[in-house]
């Protein structure tokens, strides 16, 4: 079974990869990608079962915070039943999304602003080195240069230093990091493709 999974993964991966370079294989590549999308959809349903299982066992074992698990399961089943009966485009279903999910995510985003400011303040206590000082100083300069002060903009910061930091240092650094990430992604993909890493089965 392990060998079958390995062969299937390698063949499918190779066909999809080669399909990007040889247009003749593009239709087969599209079919495999369509299958993958269907599998992802199915996996999402299985994943939701996992969510129910985890929170169900939390409730059954009377673990700390089980009240939240009860609320989660009630909301999950409620949304599922309403979704099945009314359909996802029904105004009530949209109300659930616009009235609950969007405000909750917006609240977390607002919380994030406070958390980030607090984390930046503690950065020097946690990791007092040159990089932390450069990081904080750059963030501070960028914020001051971008802000509209009562006295107006600070010309030298806004017209010279900010564009230079942004377009020379930040872009250069970002491209360097992204090149490293791209190479890492390429090699990770190749390791999976040759079967050296197997994030499936019992390899």
């Amino acid at each position: 079974m392990r060998i079958v999974a390995l062969v299937l993964a390698i063949v499918a991966g190779l066909v999809v990869l080669i399909g990007y370079f040889i247009p003749v294989l593009a239709p087969i590549q599209n079919i495999i990608l369509d299958w993958a999308i269907i599998l992802v959809g199915t996996a999402t349903i299985v994943g939701v079962f996992n969510l129910v299982l985890v929170h169900g066992s939390k409730i059954a074992q009377r673990e700390k915070g089980r009240a939240y698990s009860v609320i989660l399961l009630i909301c999950l089943f409620g949304a599922f039943v309403f979704g099945l009966v009314l359909g996802p485009a029904h105004p009530w279903m949209r109300l659930i999304v616009n009235g609950v999910i969007v405000p909750v995510e917006a609240t977390l985003m607002a919380l994030l602003a406070v958390t980030l400011v607090y984390a930046s303040i503690r950065l020097l206590r946690r990791r007092a080195n040159a990089m932390s000082i450069v990081f904080l100083a750059t963030a501070l300069v960028m914020m001051i240069a971008s802000a509209t002060l009562p006295s107006g903009e600070i010309g030298a910061l806004n017209n010279f230093l900010r564009p230079w930091l942004q377009h020379v240092l930040a872009f250069g650094g970002a491209r360097g990091i992204l090149l490293g990430v791209a190479l890492g992604t390429l090699l990770t993909g190749l390791r999976v493709l040759i079967g050296a890493d197997q994030p499936y089965g019992r390899g």
Binding site: I101, T115, I177, L179
Partner: protein
């Protein structure tokens, strides 16, 4: 543009295969990554204390171009599970994407079997925390606080929600290492987590932990390709400066 792309893939694949053979004979020498050194200690302490290790895999689909980061995270999960599966509290893997959660369960099981402790594996230790970045963060935060977690490794695709995770880890007195393939995520991890893996360090981490020939070879190929790119950039800049094109 297709030919240069294909050339890079082929060169990388050939180099990987050649270096995999060579690495079996030579022992590797790595530069020290402070985040990973501290992570070793934290893992050792978590096993000794009988506390839990949490591994976050992020929230990207495996069908996107960001799939490399969670795959690297799964590699790390496998190695860490082998090391910590006999702890009093087994490691927990959390994902913000359902297929990733299923792969995490599979990887956890493989790790337990690799450690010869397959009977202790529990499927509920590979969990789906939520289906959007913020809901996944909101689902992970209570685990950090309530499940006696002493070390947390976040390795995958994380965005700005990383700050909430780092803050929750700090409140739970858990040592956290954060990494992401996303620039915003890396910035936020740098500002908020005790240790961060920057750029390609994310992909090198499991080689540092396990040191299999395949992973060591892939780090060597990354280094070779990086120098090739640096050379090409310098040559291109020089040629442009001289007005050659």
């Amino acid at each position: 543009m297709i030919l240069p792309d294909l050339l890079v893939v082929v060169i990388a694949a050939v180099l990987l295969l050649v270096l995999m053979r060579l690495q079996r004979k030579a022992s590797p020498r790595f530069r020290t990554i402070p985040a990973l050194s501290r992570l070793y200690r934290a893992i050792g302490l978590s096993v000794e204390d009988g506390t839990r290790l949490l591994i976050g895999l992020g929230n990207t689909s495996l069908l996107t171009r960001s799939a490399g980061a969670p795959l690297a995270g799964l590699g790390m999960l496998r190695r860490l599970t082998e090391r910590t599966s006999l702890s009093d509290r087994p490691p927990v893997a959390v994902a913000g994407e359902a297929p990733l959660a299923l792969l995490a369960q599979d990887t956890l099981e493989a790790g337990y079997q690799g450690a010869g402790a397959g009977e202790y594996y529990q499927p509920t230790n590979g969990r789906l925390a939520g289906l959007t970045p913020f809901s996944a963060a909101a689902g992970t935060i209570p685990m950090l606080g309530d499940e006696d977690v002493s070390a947390a490794v976040f390795m995958g695709h994380f965005g700005v929600e990383s700050a909430l995770l780092a803050d929750a880890a700090e409140r739970a007195n858990a040592f956290a290492v954060g990494s992401s393939d996303d620039l915003a995520g890396q910035t936020v991890w740098f500002a908020s987590a005790p240790e961060t893996l920057i750029g390609e360090e994310l992909f090198a981490a499991s080689a540092y932990i396990s040191g299999t020939p395949e992973q060591i070879a892939s780090i060597s190929v990354q280094d070779v390709l990086r120098w090739v790119i640096i050379g090409a950039l310098l040559l291109g800049s020089g040629a442009k400066l001289l007005g050659l094109f």
